[in-house]
Symmetry: D2
Subunit: 433 residues, 4 copies
């Protein structure tokens, strides 16, 4: 969320800018809220209750939680006489804000058969109406900052709704399809991997003062990078098959010590959602089971696997600073995003420079998640948004085929534990020059 470094309306700029911003946010809020409901529209009430692991949440919970976020952080401030839709919802739909009191334990979100899905949709409708009314008259820049944060927050949960559902559906012996099947594998191979060089030296990263960004993207600051090169596209399934065939999952020398422990503990032999078949591999997708496409970016690999693959390939993972240095100058428009309705990464297309920088698959970096120099979390409960997760996780960049396009930018930082595999997580290689 916007910390002290966030953009502020300059004094004296007047009401006009505030008006325009409020109007724009009102429209975007309505749009993003509709989009979430749209994603859930294909689900039965029972689908919407699925929770297949403690880290994932039911779709119904995502629907309720994002609504609770607007109700708690926006309506409670914006409405003169605020009354919550249901006082119990604070307990049910608070995710992790300690400052806001106790809450349903995360691993037990799947036990909420009540309220039923239709009631949660009524909750959404009422909050949407009240939010719209509030935004029709809102001018306070702080409040609008929170609205903007709420929109970004909702976009994050759109992605989680999809990836959590994919995990849950993959646990069903019926392997249900959420969407239409992705098109069959293209005939051709992926474009040849090229190395995009960088002379090294001082680079800048992080979000500038203008525009929305999460608190942890700020402040923009300088860093030093060595001479290095980045791959022109993510690692493909075809390349990963070579890793598998070369006993990549059986050679401890390729792995971090804890990665090797994870391989043995979980019995990993391939990325998540790969299914061995007589003639090779199938893949479970949000469109059901289909043959593996060697030209596609590999997805659903943990950081441990990404790191081991890079070592196998004689390369390494890029740092955040390296990644962002490339992303800024070559931000491509060739990615796959949630709006495409494909919900699966697509094979890279030929072209100059870095491809699929945004969209398709999140790209694990070599950087541990931590604060930028001078980082300040927001005050109050919203300060828990990112700051309290800054240990033990690795940064990912670029977004995925389940991310809304508007949600992404070069400075965007995502983070997961190094063993997480249920997101659309892939690999872009780097190497020293």
């Amino acid at each position: 969320m916007p910390g002290p470094q966030a953009r502020r309306t300059a004094p004296g700029e007047g009401e006009r800018a505030g008006d325009a911003r409020a109007a724009a946010l009102r429209a975007r809020a309505a749009e993003v809220r509709r989009a979430t409901a749209g994603l859930a529209a294909r689900l039965t009430p029972e689908d919407a209750m699925l929770q297949s692991m403690p880290d994932a949440s039911p779709a119904k919970w995502h629907l309720g939680h994002t609504t609770w976020f607007f109700e708690t952080f926006v309506l409670a401030r914006a409405e003169r006489t605020h009354r919550p839709f249901d006082p119990a919802y604070g307990y049910l739909f608070n995710s992790y804000y300690e400052a806001l009191g106790p809450r349903q334990p995360r691993p037990e979100r799947g036990l909420l058969s009540r309220p039923p899905l239709e009631e949660v949709l009524r909750y959404r409708a009422e909050v949407d109406a009240r939010l719209d009314a509030a935004l029709a008259r809102a001018r306070d820049a702080d409040l609008l900052d929170v609205v903007e944060l709420g929109i970004a927050h909702e976009e994050q949960h759109q992605e989680l709704l999809l990836t959590d559902l994919k995990h849950a559906f993959s646990a069903s012996p019926l392997r249900p399809a959420y969407a239409a099947a992705p098109p069959p594998p293209a005939s051709g191979p992926a474009p040849r991997l090229a190395w995009l060089g960088h002379a090294g030296g001082r680079v800048e990263l992080g979000a500038g003062a203008e525009g929305f960004a999460f608190d942890h993207e700020r402040p923009r600051h300088a860093a030093l990078v060595p001479p290095h090169a980045l791959a022109s596209r993510p690692v493909t399934c075809g390349e990963w098959l070579e890793f598998v065939a070369a006993d990549g999952y059986r050679r401890p020398d390729l792995w971090m010590s804890e990665g090797w422990d994870a391989v043995r503990r979980h019995g990993w032999t391939a990325p998540l959602h790969w299914i061995p078949d007589r003639d090779g591999w199938l893949q479970f997708t949000l469109g059901g089971v289909r043959p593996l496409d060697p030209a596609e970016p590999v997805a659903h690999v943990s950081w441990y696997e990404a790191d081991a693959y890079a070592r196998f390939a004689g390369a390494r993972l890029p740092t955040e600073a390296e990644w962002e240095a490339h992303a800024e100058v070559r931000e491509g428009g060739d990615g796959t995003f949630a709006e495409d309705g494909r919900f699966h990464p697509a094979a890279a297309t030929p072209g100059r420079g870095a491809r699929q920088v945004l969209g398709d698959v999140w790209e694990w970096t070599a950087s541990a998640y931590g604060p930028y120099p001078g980082y300040r979390p927001a005050a109050g409960a919203l300060g828990e948004y990112n700051g309290k997760f800054m240990v033990g996780q690795q940064v990912l960049r670029g977004g995925s085929c389940a991310s809304p396009r508007r949600h992404l930018r070069a400075s965007y930082r995502n983070f997961f534990h190094p063993d997480a595999r249920w997101q659309f997580t892939g690999v872009r290689l780097a190497r020293d020059l």
Copy 2:
């Protein structure tokens, strides 16, 4: 299920008896199937998917499993050209029959959002129709034995549907009510406990050759019991309050060693579903939260607690043989059963002899669950029904307020692990004379 000791039609008795039996079973099957559907009718699709612990199952699964039982063990034999409703259902709805292949892991039954509830109800309807047709022409005694077993099996799952649901609802912060609230506590105290003596010696227990009984109730056999007395009624909540007040949950001398471990591991301080309140105790029931009634039989205690309470009371638990010796001669008609729609035990009423022998609460016995002398499990997959659970569990007798009345009899044996608390499990004391 009926083992080799089960009743068999005498040769030459003719078709008439077979006809009558088939007709009776056809009617009972229809009735019991309707009753199960009736229990589930109050549930939303989401309620029907709840699984709050590995030992419990979703209501939808109970609906599917009981149907699969009839389809697999009856229709597959009775229909000339049998085609399963859905070949995948064998995987989804097999409970534990190793002889019938792999199955959905028990702790993951709650992940079956598909098939949806309405589809499972269609499955029920089709199997019911085909079962009815099959029974219209069935005369084979072996097949009718299996139908009778299927009916008893369905009755068992009616009870589990209720108790599993109670556990799941109790895990919801909203504490939903499944049924109308039980009536408020009666004004009066429970009838005074009387001791019903037995001179000891040779007694007989187990089901005789006639009529339906599960395989483990046979053969009827003799046992020796010492001179002893049984309590005229189960232990009440009021009596249990004295145990709590006397630090019963804090005195290791009252407990089995593993019971004491359980007390500390789980932090037990009262029966399951008791809720401390400013002014005393509330109780979560299938009718919602209500005050504790001291005159009611205590329920939801583990064997460890039952055993510790008995020691506290200067008594002990009865053995199976003792229990059945009393039950046979004094089988009362004063119990509460599933048909009463109360779904909660009721306070004992005054009267001579043993009260609430059947119904209200299952009564833990001192007997470990094992085979009777000469026990033979059925052949084939149905031999897995009881025989493979004969270690590590304790026998309970008498049935509960969630048991169908017809399901119970003096020889009926139920069994659970000594730490189980989610059934309506209570205590009837015994002592040596």
Copy 3:
């Protein structure tokens, strides 16, 4: 320990009997205490500290605990001005007597590097001297009862010292030998198994009023047994090899449900201490690794395995009453005991009637461990000796090659959980007639 049913000196029998009993116990106490020290004499201080699992204890702890038992239950009563050797030892060496206060957690007994072994031996020496002095003047029958219990208790820990050590040594990659290697396998096969019949009916079991017995062996009482037969000798390793070869560890139909879970969870494919080898199987013994002798009784099998094997063999396990009915009339003198210094079962020798009834291997029974009718635990802390373990365990009979010969008798009851394998536990089959 001797409960209320234990033998009591008849009034008027006079001092003479008390004198003789005291003298005899004084001699036996000295002897048994020496024997324990003898067993430990082959151990380095480091060996004596080994604890390879929570259920097992270090030899040093056994040495200290048995001493603490005499100090606490005998010296503290018998000495006019009793001062404990070290007040801290109550915490260190109490096993599980809740009535005597807190204690070193069982899984952390291996963390007691202090007191060093030599100090514990000094503790033994001092308590031995004081015990001897006390017994020189002791006449009180109650006190002598406790001395007798202390002797039996010490004998139990002699066996545990050996079996716990065997487990610990087997966990060392060096596979140390505790004793001289058992002689090489005899050339011949085991004697043919014969079935010893019993007409069934009323039998008596349990210890009579005279002589020492543990509380749980009393009262002697009657039970009914069906017509049945018992095997003339325990199941051999050779017979077990057939079970392994017939996929006995891969056929769920042979196993209790929880037994099958255990097979998969632990990856059992053979008895504990069997080691696969190029040419067959080796076995880890207290004399080191040596070839498996097919004529030997199989040892180190769990109750689950014993039960599955019996089903495989078309037989079953005997009940306690059946076992004891045979043991009483045919108590053989052909067993292997701790005094033999072999510490490993020996092949059966030909002979009439039941062979190896006492000694060689404990024999799992079909009986769950529980109280005999009319059982009363002793008063005070000694009441915790057996009574608080009477749930969840199975009875074993007969003793093993690690039991002192004097410790055993027909009425002796041992008990372990159904998955325990680290004792010398084997199988004698039974079947219905």
Copy 4:
């Protein structure tokens, strides 16, 4: 270990330098090996076998492992006809080198009663003699690099021997003392904390090309730091008492999310080894239990606690670059080291600049452990030394009272998981300017 960046003898420099280096290393090797044996000399064989948690190792194992290191990496290369002391020791004493084959599982090192301590000391003596002989003739720079690494490796295990032992002794109810008690608390308070400023900008960190350093300290490289200040001394026990008194362990807002989970899971209410007492706090030290000295640096806190304390204090933890920027210019000589035989941190003494930079307590940094730009692990098994641990851990700097003085330097990097508490780990605060 020395990677490709390590110092290399310039061509043409001749044999003289090699001679001198070999002679110096020969002397140092002998000295450091003697020192390790000296640390172990106070231990009984039983003390030397203690393993109180999977992360810690018995002293005997440390003695064997460090010897195995020299035998495997030096003698096996240096001796013409190398024969290992005992072929089994490779299995027993390999720590984690996958390239060198299987090994005793880490959590089971405490099960090695054999070889006995005296045999391990013989192993040490023989390897020492052979090492000395080998070094008398060694001139190969690569081999000498490995000797130097072996010395540093041995020094690391000296510290671990002490900290692992402290943990093990603290688990004993007897709380044994390893060394003489530290002197009683000084009368005075700690010197006032001063803030040492840094203007920010480009700094250099890491080891230069000359002299020994571990591979992960190289290459020396530049980084940018913001304007900031570092505390002149570590946080004291007295300051930590204020954190405890202010409910620091009960305020989730001060903690990382995973830190708060750790607080609740482990029940942390104070640093490890603090013992509540009637009148305040005692502390378990390697000299036994003694009162807490408020003027001492706090030790045995996890990264989570260090981070929470810094937030409480309105400060933060320093990054590696910041820490090293200060350490280089102000490296103090006022620390407590293993050679002091105190084995406990000492109160800071007054003085200008940064105090206790080296020695006393390791200082947690804000930096996740990872590779420096351009990092290359060594080839072969020695490449596993550091490189495979570069995820999920946090860097610590400065060394402790259990570190040998020669072992430390400004560029030295240590790393542990954020929940580790059994090392002498403390806190030096930083803040932005």
